[in-house]
Symmetry: C2
Subunit: 168 residues, 2 copies
Amino acid sequence: MAGDASLSSSEFPDPGHDHDACRDQAIDRAERLCAGQGARLTPQRREVLELLLAAHQALGAYEIMEGIDWGGRKPAPVVVYRALDFLMELGLVHRLASVNAYVACGHAGEAHGARFLICTDCRTVAEVTSPGIADALVGEAERRGFAVGQLTIEISGVCPHCRGAADG
Amino acid sequence: MAGDASLSSSEFPDPGHDHDACRDQAIDRAERLCAGQGARLTPQRREVLELLLAAHQALGAYEIMEGIDWGGRKPAPVVVYRALDFLMELGLVHRLASVNAYVACGHAGEAHGARFLICTDCRTVAEVTSPGIADALVGEAERRGFAVGQLTIEISGVCPHCRGAADG
DNA sequence: CATATAATGTAATATCATAACAATTCAAGA
DNA sequence: TCTTGAATTGTTATGATATTACATTATATG
């Protein structure tokens, strides 16, 4: 069973929280992860990751392009996609299939069994990890003789903050 | 021959099963559903649905286009998308976000809590309905104050038949 | 330095999906 | 039957997302 304390790391980020600190922390983790794997977090890749971390939202690839400014020029699409591929490979970024968008991962490395709550209003994304449900899904599929590869669980709806703003 | 009847509605369809019968059955259901709602299952829409039913697979919109032949001509993309929109509205077809493809629904109307097992080999799709897990996901999201809209659960992997073919 | 591998630059193109608007068909009432 | 409004279809163009291909540059290593 999921307790109460376990919710803290997977809640929707409070709109008033310290973005900078949480971004720096995540970048730190990303750098350690890369170092550990001999992967290079180049300036381009880092910029894409920072943009996603700062947004706390799902961004489309072309939105990311727009968000990047290299002395007045925008990167070509393929540049962004390459950075995203790299970051996804390491589990630092996830693709949200249901909205064709990308989001920075809060718990890099432990991509296992994660699901995403996507606010259709503010597009904020909460990443929730609860092995129980993921295991149930995987187990059930395997009981049917299905060899599970990738698991996609995405829940669209309205987050607590937007709900509050709208009708509270 | 096909295995236990009890599993038939949620198992992967046996490659040797009677496609025609199962398609006709589904078309029948679709027609009743439309009649009940005052919706019109026009020839175009019906053709798209039949194509998907016959395929037992997820097909991209442009694959559907290719699969349709109107006296030597192919329908425009928008024609296919319109048919798909109609069919999805009625729950006769589902969109699989993780593979940008569409699949005919085995249990029209009861779209509730369905998840999809998608074979990356033969692209066959099994639709599995188990309210328990869906409810757990929705319940947990709502406990976090999230107002659930749409639920996307898609599992990619290798189906029993392809597994058998590949490694014994 | 030489070399191989990884990363980037650039242009073109493939793939998926929708917008806009005209023409036609259909159902239902006058 | 005629008319009228709504639904459906036809057609063209365009928007949005993603990849291919190939040349160039950077980086690590012997």
